[in-house]
């Protein structure tokens, strides 16, 4: 009896406190909204938004609804996160490996990079790229041609746009290539396990990935044209590029800063992962006659990945969350479009902030759930 009371007491008190705090807040919110004549509800989402967004992946203008504006913001956030993750992974892996290089200069340079970019606030880096570095770029009419087709100007990067015909057939060919690669890999693994023969999997996969899509160009009626950006004068002093794909400077600054910043953390994860493999593993693998390549591929990497992937996913999540700093340089991401402009127009603080937070929360939680599942599946299965 005594034991039970002791356990129930603190729990009841905690629940009471939580309920009281929530009740207090809800009560106040109701009172406040009543006084201001606002009604709680998400009906405003279907209203006409009547504001414009500078950069959007889907068709959008002021006549669309707030829900559509939310979608525009969300897609822009995901776009930044996606590009940032790819660049930071490539950079992070290179630098992480460079930090383990036997070459003193390379190791020091990588360490310098990590220490330098890690210790400066991300917001400052974004401001630097946007307000200082990219502002030093030439005006559209003075820009030099890069690689013959692109223009890097103060108004952004203008690259050729791909104009596809029969894009779906091209996609199918890539899917077919992917499926056949999986089958071949399984077959190769079986072959190795049963007969000890090894197939050059990498070259076969690469070949398939290149050749199958190429065949569609020849036989599938797929064609790819480039629409080049062309300088156009709209008045005596102002020029713009027409055609092509314009990447706004906000997006460039944001992804650049995010990628450079996050790469330092990923580099540290990679380094820790590779260092976490004991030297004995490498020596044991070498002693049974594996080549250095095989040691890396078959012994070191599978084990190192187990250490590297969980913290790296964390960094991906951080990158996604940090992309909300876009609001500072007016890149129309979820926070700026929805929690900024839409909130300003509707005044529905509770609904909008809660939707925004819930969105980020669900992204984070779903990724961490995926991660937990992955972690379990690759964890060492002890007998």
């Amino acid at each position: 009896m005594n034991f039970k009371l002791k356990n129930i007491g603190p729990q009841l008190i905690t629940i009471a406190i939580v309920v009281l705090v929530f009740g207090f807040f809800t009560f106040n919110a109701q009172m406040n909204m009543e006084n201001r004549g606002i009604e709680f509800g998400y009906g405003f989402l279907s209203q006409e938004s009547s504001f414009d967004v500078q950069f959007s992946l889907i068709e959008y203008d002021g006549s669309h609804s707030y829900a559509r504006a939310y979608l525009v913001g969300l897609l822009n956030t995901l776009l930044v996160a996606f590009i940032g993750i790819i660049i930071s992974t490539i950079l992070g892996v290179i630098i992480g490996i460079a930090r383990l290089s036997p070459n003193y200069l390379i190791e020091r340079s990588a360490a310098f990079y990590v220490e330098f970019f890690r210790n400066i606030p991300l917001l400052l880096q974004i401001f630097f790229w946007y307000f200082a570095a990219l502002r030093a770029l030439p005006l559209p009419q003075d820009a030099d041609v890069m690689f013959g087709v692109s223009f890097l100007t103060i108004k952004g990067l203008f690259v050729p746009r791909f104009v596809w015909e029969n894009l779906d057939i091209f996609f199918y060919s890539i899917i077919a290539a992917a499926i056949s690669i999986v089958i071949i890999r399984n077959y190769a693994r079986k072959l190795q396990e049963n007969e000890g023969k090894q197939l050059p999997i990498f070259s076969i996969s690469a070949g398939l990935l290149i050749i199958l899509p190429l065949l569609t160009f020849l036989f599938g009626g797929v064609s790819l044209n480039f629409e080049l950006p062309v300088l156009k004068q709209i008045s005596t002093t102002s020029f713009i590029y027409e055609g092509g794909l314009g990447i706004p400077p906000e997006l460039i600054a944001l992804t650049l800063a995010l990628a450079l910043y996050t790469a330092t953390f990923i580099a540290e994860c990679v380094r820790a992962g590779i260092q976490g493999i004991s030297k004995g593993q490498k020596e044991a693998a070498a002693s049974i006659g594996l080549t250095p390549r095989q040691v890396l591929k078959l012994v070191i990497m599978p084990q190192a990945l187990r250490i590297i992937i969980p913290p790296t996913t964390n960094q991906y999540l951080n990158l996604t969350k940090n992309s909300s700093l876009a609001a500072a340089i007016a890149y129309p991401d979820l926070v700026l479009v929805f929690a900024g402009t839409a909130l300003m127009q509707t005044g529905r603080a509770i609904e909008i902030v809660s939707i925004t937070m819930f969105t980020y929360l669900s992204i984070s939680l779903s990724i961490s759930m995926l991660m937990n599942w992955y972690n379990k599946s690759i964890a060492i299965k002890e007998k």
Partner: protein, 480 residues
């Protein structure tokens, strides 16, 4: 004379290889050096690509020629072992050296040689380098924000005294060491709050030094005659009672007019800013987030399901959202949750928001430490008859916290780096002030200088913190 095989240098012709190799390396470095520092292109008569590639090619051959193992020459062996192991490494080495040589002149010229620091208008900046005049003129704003110039000594004095009070732990003798935790966790934050509130903000003074000193002196003298058992309670309670009685009963007439006791001009938090605000925000968030995080971590490990689930929900919520939305919430949504006549200062709201946010991260770090402790520690403590709190305070937490020093330091670093985000609610710390100064019509076009300045300052702070945490880690490392 042995036969020379240029593709495979060996020990037999050591000197020949060495001289040829060194000569080629020297030529390649000299070429890049002249090109970079004196803008002389020695090989300008060659086609552009070849002229560009040539030093790399020469250096590569040179490094290849000197790559001879076990020469017995100490420096050469060191060179070969560290930066010249393979052909690939040699190329990377050369590229890095060339990049360094190439980048020194423009950096030097921007920072120092072509930079200006004299004068006090934009016109003084004539050079092509940085305009440090801008930083010089705006330095006060960058450090103190919009705080009135005449009152800035208050901030300086507060920070210096807080620093002095904070360094007490360094000079404490063995006898007082056991009170240090109490001091840092309870007393020091309280003193810091008093300083910030009464001194920097100039809030109403309900504390009067003269009464305080009298109460303190009297209680110490009387304290000599108090029996030892009661001493703790005596020193906790009596000075406060004495103080209150002195102030409100004996000298009641004087203290009636509170307005008169206002020592300083009120400076509202909106005017605070610059680096000092960065310090204030990170300092308080640091102090608050640690205990909250500790309780959350204990809650998450608790055996009581409700407490555990509430802690998990709380932690995962804060960890799942970006700080900027939390700040949005604190500025636009939180006031809706408060009674209508209740006003909470912007700065206070921000500090609470950041503290709760970082507390969730601290909690996860501490949980890692708690999980790393072997079960035996818990069992041993319980077998000695310790209760939950005694066990955690005396046995578990000291060990767990020691384990997670690097993690906590990282979280604190993240906190400091997150402070610029308070621009969302309109508070302008260093980065915010830079953005404000940048738009001043008299000083347009100096964004670069400002950001470089801020980057250097933040870098120094963060780097010092990470090095300090590294030292702590080594200091508290105990063999297990």
């Amino acid at each position: 004379m042995n036969k020379l095989n240029l593709l495979k240098p060996d020990l037999n012709n050591l000197n020949t290889y060495l001289y040829a190799g060194s000569f080629l390396i020297f030529i390649s470095l000299l070429d890049v050096f002249l090109n970079s520092f004196f803008a002389i292109n020695v090989t300008s008569y060659l086609p552009q690509t070849i002229s560009f590639i040539l030093p790399l090619f020469l250096g590569f051959i040179g490094l290849h020629l000197v790559r001879i193992e076990f020469t017995g020459i100490k420096n050469l062996d060191l060179l070969n072992k560290n930066i010249n192991t393979t052909n690939f490494n040699a190329i990377l080495t050369l590229i890095i050296i060339f990049v360094i040589i190439k980048s020194i002149p423009p950096i030097l010229s921007w920072f120092i040689i072509d930079a200006n620091i004299t004068g006090d208008t934009k016109e003084a900046c004539t050079g092509s380098g940085a305009c440090w005049t801008y930083i010089k003129i705006w330095l006060r704003r960058f450090v103190y924000g919009m705080y009135p110039n005449a009152e800035q000594w208050r901030i300086n004095l507060s920070f210096i005294s807080l620093l002095a009070l904070g360094s007490v732990g360094y000079f404490a003798t063995e006898k007082f060491k056991k009170y240090l935790t109490l001091y840092y966790v309870v007393i020091y934050p309280f003193i810091a709050f008093l300083f910030i509130f009464f001194f920097i903000s100039g809030g109403p003074v309900f504390f009067e030094f003269s009464y305080g000193i009298i109460a303190f002196a009297v209680s110490i003298i009387v304290g000599f005659f108090v029996p030892k058992k009661l001493k703790v309670w005596y020193f906790l309670l009596v000075p406060i009672i004495l103080y209150i009685s002195l102030k409100y009963f004996l000298f009641y007439e004087e203290s009636i007019d509170l307005g008169k006791l206002n020592g300083f001009n009120w400076v509202e938090t909106g005017a605070w800013g610059g680096l000092s605000l960065t310090f204030i925000v990170s300092f308080f968030c640091l102090i608050f987030c640690f205990p909250v995080g500790m309780f959350l971590a204990l809650g998450r490990r608790s055996a009581l399901p409700t407490i555990r689930y509430i802690s998990i929900g709380f932690i995962e919520f804060w960890r799942g959202v970006p700080l900027i939305t939390v700040l949005f919430m604190s500025s636009v949504m939180f006031p809706m949750f408060l009674p209508e006549d209740f006003f909470m200062d912007k700065l206070v709201r921000v500090i609470i928001a950041i503290s709760l946010f970082e507390a969730a991260y601290v909690a996860e770090v501490i949980r890692g430490g708690l999980q790393a402790l072997p079960r035996g520690q818990y069992d041993a403590a319980k077998s000695l008859g310790m209760g939950y709190w005694k066990m955690h305070i005396l046995v578990i937490l000291p060990q767990a916290l020691k384990l997670v020093i690097p993690g906590i330091a990282n979280t604190f670093l993240a906190l400091v780096k997150d402070t610029p985000l308070i621009f969302v609610v309109g508070l302008l710390e260093l980065v915010g002030m830079l953005n404000l100064a940048k738009t001043n019509p008299d000083w347009l076009g100096f964004a670069m200088e400002g950001y470089v300045f801020a980057a250097i300052i933040f870098w120094i702070i963060c780097y010092a913190m990470s090095k300090y945490s590294y030292n702590l880690e080594i200091k508290y490392k105990t063999e297990r």
